[in-house]
C-alpha cells in the first residue's frame, strides 16, 4: 500500500468525525504551541539582551547617587545628587576604566517650525559617544570644544530627526529645546532600547555644560545625575567596579562603617537577570508543553482505541480483501501521526499569531524560527508514533473472522 493512499485514508478518517478529531487535537495544539513559544521567548529574550548591549555598548556600569541610608528619611534614588563632574573625571582616570561619561538628563519640548515633540535630552560629553557605541548617520558628534564653550549644539536621535524633519536634512538647522535655540550638528544612526534612556532613537544629546546652563538646574554647579563607565576588558569589569567603590568612598570620605551614598549598576548583571528570567519562563512553558503533549497523547491513544473498536468490522473487511496486518498497523499509525502533525501545524500557527501579537506591541521581539517549526514537527511525530503505536498494533492483531462477526 502506497503512502499517499494511507495518507488519504487517514484524512478521510479524520474528517469523518471532525468535532471529535478537533477536540482530540486540542491537547497537542496547546502542547506544540507552548513548546514553540518557549523557544521563541528564549530566543526573543536573548535577542533583546544582545540588542541592549549593542545599543548601550558592552562592559558598562552606571554610577549614580544613592540616598544615604544613615539619614532618617530615605529619598528616591538619584534625588540626592552627590555625583559630580570631578567624580566622573576621577573615575575616567582609573587604569581599569576605558571611559567615563557624566550625564544630565531631562525631558523637554523640542520644536522645529510647526512640529514639536517631547523627548529625553541628555547632557553629556564626547566620551559617551565612544563608550556607548553611538554612530552618526549624518554630521558630527559633540566635541570637547562644545563642552568647554557650552555651545548650543545638539545631536538628534534617528526618530527625533524623522519626526521633526521628515526627509529633509536637519544638519545646520536650528531647533528649539525648551524655547532655546540649538543648532543641529549630527544625527545618530543607533536604534533600539537602552537601559538608561529608553529608545536611543528618541534622544537628543547636547553638551553637558550647555544642558546645565539652559535646561537642567542642579544642586551645585558640578553635580551630575549619573556616570556611564566602560571597563577596558570584560574580565576586568568586576575589578573595575571594586576600584570605583574604593575611589568613590575615598572621594566622598565615607567611613568604613557607613553605607555608600552612591551605587554602581552593572548591566552585565541585568543581562544575567534577563537570561535567568528567560530560562525560568522557558522551563515553565516547556513544562506546560510537555504536560500538554503527554495529556494530548493519551487523548489520542484513547480516541484511537475507540476508533479501532468502532471500526472492527471495517478492519475485518479490509483483512478479508487482502490487507496484511502491517497494512492495518500502518493505517492506524499514520492516522495518529497525521492527527498529531496537523495539530502541530495548527500549534505553530497559533504560536506565530501570539508571537506577532507580542511583537506588534513593539516592546519585545518574538520570532518563530525554522528551528522551532522543525522541533514542533518532530515532537508531533514522536507523540503520534508513541501514543498511536499501541492502538495500531492492537488493530493489526485482530482476527479477520472475529472482526467480520462484530456488529
Amino acid at each position: 500500500m502506497k503512502l499517499i493512499h494511507v495518507l488519504s485514508e487517514a484524512l478521510r478518517a479524520m474528517l469523518a468525525n471532525p468535532l471529535r478529531t478537533m477536540l482530540t487535537m486540542l491537547g497537542i495544539i496547546i502542547g506544540i504551541a507552548s513548546v514553540v513559544l518557549m523557544l521563541a521567548v528564549g530566543d526573543g529574550i536573548k535577542l533583546f539582551i544582545d540588542k541592549q548591549l549593542s545599543v548601550l555598548g558592552s562592559n558598562l556600569v552606571i554610577v549614580q547617587a544613592d540616598s544615604r541610608k544613615a539619614v532618617g528619611a530615605r529619598l528616591r534614588t538619584g534625588t540626592v545628587q552627590t555625583i559630580t563632574l570631578d567624580d566622573a573625571e576621577a573615575i575616567n582616570r582609573l587604569p581599569s576604566v576605558k571611559g567615563a561619561a557624566p550625564m544630565l538628563t531631562t525631558y523637554s519640548q523640542i520644536s522645529y517650525g510647526n512640529d514639536n515633540t517631547n523627548t529625553q535630552v541628555q547632557g553629556t560629553t564626547p566620551i559617551s559617544f565612544a563608550i556607548r557605541n553611538l554612530r552618526l548617520a549624518k554630521g558630527i558628534g559633540l566635541s570637547e570644544v562644545d563642552i568647554a564653550s557650552a555651545s548650543r549644539v545638539a545631536v538628534l536621535g534617528k526618530k527625533v530627526a524623522e519626526q521633526l524633519f521628515y526627509k529633509n536634512d536637519p544638519i545646520g538647522q536650528t531647533i528649539r529645546i525648551d524655547n532655546q535655540s540649538f543648532q543641529v550638528i549630527g544625527v545618530l544612526d543607533n536604534e533600539g532600547q537602552s537601559f538608561d534612556s529608553g529608545d536611543i532613537g528618541e534622544v537628543v544629546m547636547v553638551p553637558i555644560s550647555t544642558a546645565r546652563v539652559t535646561l537642567i538646574r542642579t544642586a551645585t554647579p558640578r553635580t551630575v545625575q549619573y556616570v556611564v563607565v566602560q571597563s577596558k576588558t570584560t574580565e576586568g569589569l568586576n575589578d573595575m567596579v571594586a576600584d570605583i567603590y574604593d575611589l568613590m568612598r575615598d572621594r566622598h570620605r565615607i567611613r568604613a562603617e557607613e553605607p555608600d551614598d552612591f551605587r554602581v549598576v552593572n548591566f552585565g548583571e541585568f543581562a544575567k537577570t534577563g537570561e535567568a528570567i528567560a530560562t525560568g519562563l522557558s522551563i515553565a512553558l516547556g513544562f506546560v508543553g510537555a504536560v500538554s503533549l503527554v495529556v494530548g497523547g493519551i487523548g489520542i491513544m484513547n480516541i484511537m482505541l475507540v476508533s479501532v473498536t468502532e471500526r472492527t468490522r471495517e478492519i475485518g473487511i479490509r483483512m478479508a480483501i487482502g490487507a496484511r496486518p502491517s497494512d492495518v498497523l500502518w493505517q492506524f499509525l499514520i492516522e495518529a501521526v497525521a492527527i498529531c502533525l496537523v495539530s502541530g501545524i495548527i500549534g505553530v500557527a497559533l504560536s506565530a499569531g501570539v508571537a506577532s501579537a507580542v511583537s506588534s506591541t513593539g516592546k519585545f521581539e518574538m520570532a518563530i524560527g525554522a528551528k522551532a517549526v522543525g522541533i514542533a514537527v518532530v515532537f508531533s511525530c514522536i507523540v503520534g508514533i508513541f501514543f498511536g503505536f499501541y492502538p495500531a498494533r492492537r488493530a493489526s492483531k485482530l482476527q479477520p473472522v472475529e472482526c467480520l462477526r462484530y456488529e
Binding site: I317, A320, I321, A323, R324, P325, D327, Q399, V401
Partner: protein, 259 residues
C-alpha cells in the same frame, strides 16, 4: 456417506480439503465443529454449500476463505498449502486468490463506490490511477459504471451487492466465495444477483463457492455439498442433491406428523 469422501483428481484442483477438522476451545473445553471434511473442487466449478445452522457451514466457509485455519487436516488452495502460511501470507493469498461476496455486502462507508471496488488492487500494490481505471471497468461490467462516485449507502441493496461482486472480481481471482449473497435481498433482486453469478460461471469459467440455506438459490449451482453435524452428507450434482433434500425434509415432517 462414503461417496462424499472420494477424493477427486488432485491434479490442478483449485480447492483441495483433506480430512479437515476444526474445534473451538473455551475454558479448555473442546467443542468440535468439523469432524473431517473432504472436498475437492476443480476450476470452473460452481458449488453450493448447504447445511442447517450448527452444521459447520460457516466454519467451513471461514476455512475455505483463509480467514480461519483448521485444527487439523490439509487445505490446498490453488496449489498453496494454506496451513503453512503466516498471517501476512494469508492476507496476500486472500487478496490474489479469493473474491468475497458477503450477505451484508460489507462495503466501506465514507468511501466512494469506485474506491471500494479499487481497494483490493490498492492492497495488491497496484497504483492509485491504475486501480481506479480497472475498478471503473469492473463496475461497467456489473452495470453500475455510472454510480462510481456515489457513496455505498446511497445505493439499493441489490446495487450494493453488485458493487461487492465487482470488488470481488477486480483482482481477477480464481475463486469467488459468496456467503449467503442473497440473504438480505428480495426475491427479484436475488434472482438478478444469481443470474449475474451464473453468467460469470458460464461465460468466464469463474469458479464459485456459494453458501446458502435456500434450495432455490442452491439450484443455480452445478454441484451441491450438504453438511450435517460437521460432516459431508452429500456431494454431487445439485439437482440430485436438492431432490434428496426435499425427500429428507418430507420424511422429517412426516415423522413429526406421525409422532
Amino acid at each position: 456417506m462414503m461417496d462424499s469422501m472420494i477424493v477427486h483428481s488432485a491434479a490442478g484442483a483449485l480447492v483441495e480439503i483433506t480430512d479437515v477438522r476444526k474445534s473451538y476451545f473455551s475454558n479448555r473445553v473442546e467443542t468440535p465443529v468439523l469432524h473431517g471434511i473432504n472436498v475437492t473442487m476443480q476450476r470452473g466449478d460452481f458449488v453450493a454449500v448447504m447445511g442447517q445452522s450448527g452444521s459447520g457451514k460457516s466454519t467451513l466457509m471461514n476455512i475455505l476463505g483463509c480467514l480461519d485455519t483448521p485444527t487439523s487436516g490439509a487445505y490446498r488452495l490453488a496449489g498453496v498449502d494454506v496451513g503453512a502460511q503466516s498471517r501476512a501470507e494469508l492476507a496476500t493469498l486472500r487478496n490474489r486468490t479469493i473474491g468475497f461476496v458477503f450477505q451484508s455486502f460489507n462495503l466501506l462507508k465514507r468511501m466512494s463506490v469506485l474506491d471500494n471496488v479499487a481497494l483490493p488492487l490498492i492492497y495488491a500494490g497496484v497504483s492509485r490511477s491504475a486501480s481506479r481505471s480497472r475498478a471503473q471497468t469492473q463496475l461497467d461490467k456489473v452495470g453500475l459504471g455510472e454510480l462510481a462516485s456515489r457513496q455505498p449507502n446511497q445505493l439499493s441493496g441489490g446495487q450494493q451487492q453488485r458493487v461487492a461482486i465487482a470488488r470481488a472480481l477486480v483482482v481477477d481471482p480464481p475463486l469467488i466465495l459468496a456467503d449467503e449473497p442473497t440473504g438480505n435481498l428480495d426475491t427479484r433482486t436475488s434472482n438478478d444477483i444469481m443470474a449475474l453469478l451464473n453468467e460469470l460461471n458460464r461465460e468466464r469459467g469463474q469458479s464459485i463457492i456459494l453458501v446458502t440455506h435456500e434450495p432455490d438459490i442452491a439450484a443455480h449451482a452445478k454441484r451441491l455439498v450438504r453438511l450435517k453435524d460437521g460432516l459431508v452428507l452429500y456431494d454431487g450434482p445439485a439437482a440430485e442433491g436438492l431432490r434428496q433434500l426435499r425427500t429428507d425434509d418430507n420424511t422429517a415432517s412426516a415423522s413429526e406428523v406421525s409422532q
